[in-house]
Symmetry: D2
């Protein structure tokens, strides 16, 4: 399981004294970028291929607050892969405490604006696709 | 229907040339704050009452991109109100184009950290709660 | 004197309970964008002309804290205009209290990457340039 | 010389394709936090001592653009220390290219809101104070 680490910055907290909830969506992006680097399908490479990969949806559940200086461990994994859509899952922990779980949904669009068949174009995703779908 | 307006700032765009997806979670908060002001249950008042109202979950679907200088009209409404939870809905448009829809889920916690019965404490929500629940 | 208004968002505060200092640099940009719209040399127009106008320097002095829900009045003015550089000044107040003063320094670069003589290209700045330079 | 590393996130870029200028003020804070950790006068400790340390001023000069995935090396150093004020300097590079230089000015306030003599309270700064002041 790929794990990304984010240490919460002071500017990411709010006046409730906790990490502002919007920032977890950014931590998801940071972790996704690192995961895609790891598997050889980096943003830089996808962009260089002339493909854009917009975010179609996000979801998050806040399970426990975090704050400045906490190190959040972010597990990233493929939740579901259909021919045209990629659903990525995230589980965040500080130590043993679960703090957040979320998902993001993505498609890949070619230069002509039409959806790309993801696994055909980027077979490096294959080993990470869960078996039963 | 309450509508809040957000003009997209340059610093809210990313290098795809569009409004970064994480910012819509912030637009939801801006709109929610304005809506709560409108109905007489403002953040300032809730905080002054010693109540904290953390975000328990968010969801968003991105329907169309937006960018710098676009004026986003954000409709805010109560989707669902149970004794202890408040689900707020958001529909965002630029002109006639739907660009985003989302929801946020909230509870209210008293000084003792225990959940507060929302409608008993803040009856000003009542007229905005949808009929069939 | 042109004045722009910014109401501080919850997500702009930090765990000291105040507006995070980095956000004032963003308020400067918001106010600058509105000022350039006002005088007829908008970002949109400058970009459409194929000109980029990077920020070369910023400075800010924090005079008083602000927080959530404060309305900051931002005065924007041209501090200095040389053939190739534009220095914009900002004074921010909440009510009668001065909270921040700052400046930003800009140049304008044409498609060839070479500096553009600002007043020749955008004479609409002229009425706003202070007399004694 | 203490060096902090920041890898630019996608959400830190803007539609010019570069790191938005406001983010460098945040990178300064990240680097300052790491530097204070290093010398044994961490934010966490200062806060636990009941001392607040607001930012009084910032300055930055943008020397070269950066973008997504760039690793910025941030040198942090004490520029000047007077009894009541601390001026911290920053030099940022990507590889051999200088991209930014900046400073931030700080004071330390005790529980009574009065300025604290910094070196008396935190002698761990002493080895980092430049000789000629």
């Amino acid at each position: 399981m790929f794990v990304y680490h984010h240490k919460v910055h002071y500017y990411e907290t709010d006046r409730m004294g906790i990490t502002h909830h919007s920032n977890y969506i950014r931590f998801m992006e940071e972790a996704r970028v690192a995961f895609l680097d790891e598997i050889g399908a980096s943003f830089a490479r996808i962009e260089a291929d002339g493909i854009v990969s917009p975010v179609m949806a996000v979801e998050g559940r806040y399970l426990h607050t975090t704050t400045f200086d906490d190190v959040i461990d972010v597990e990233v994994f493929i939740k579901e892969m259909s021919p045209l859509k990629l659903r990525i899952g995230y589980r965040m922990r500080v130590g043993e405490t679960e703090v957040f779980e979320g998902m993001s949904l993505h498609c890949f669009l070619g230069k002509d604006g039409r959806p790309v068949r993801i696994l055909e174009r980027y077979p490096q995703f294959a080993p990470y696709v869960p078996a039963e779908e």
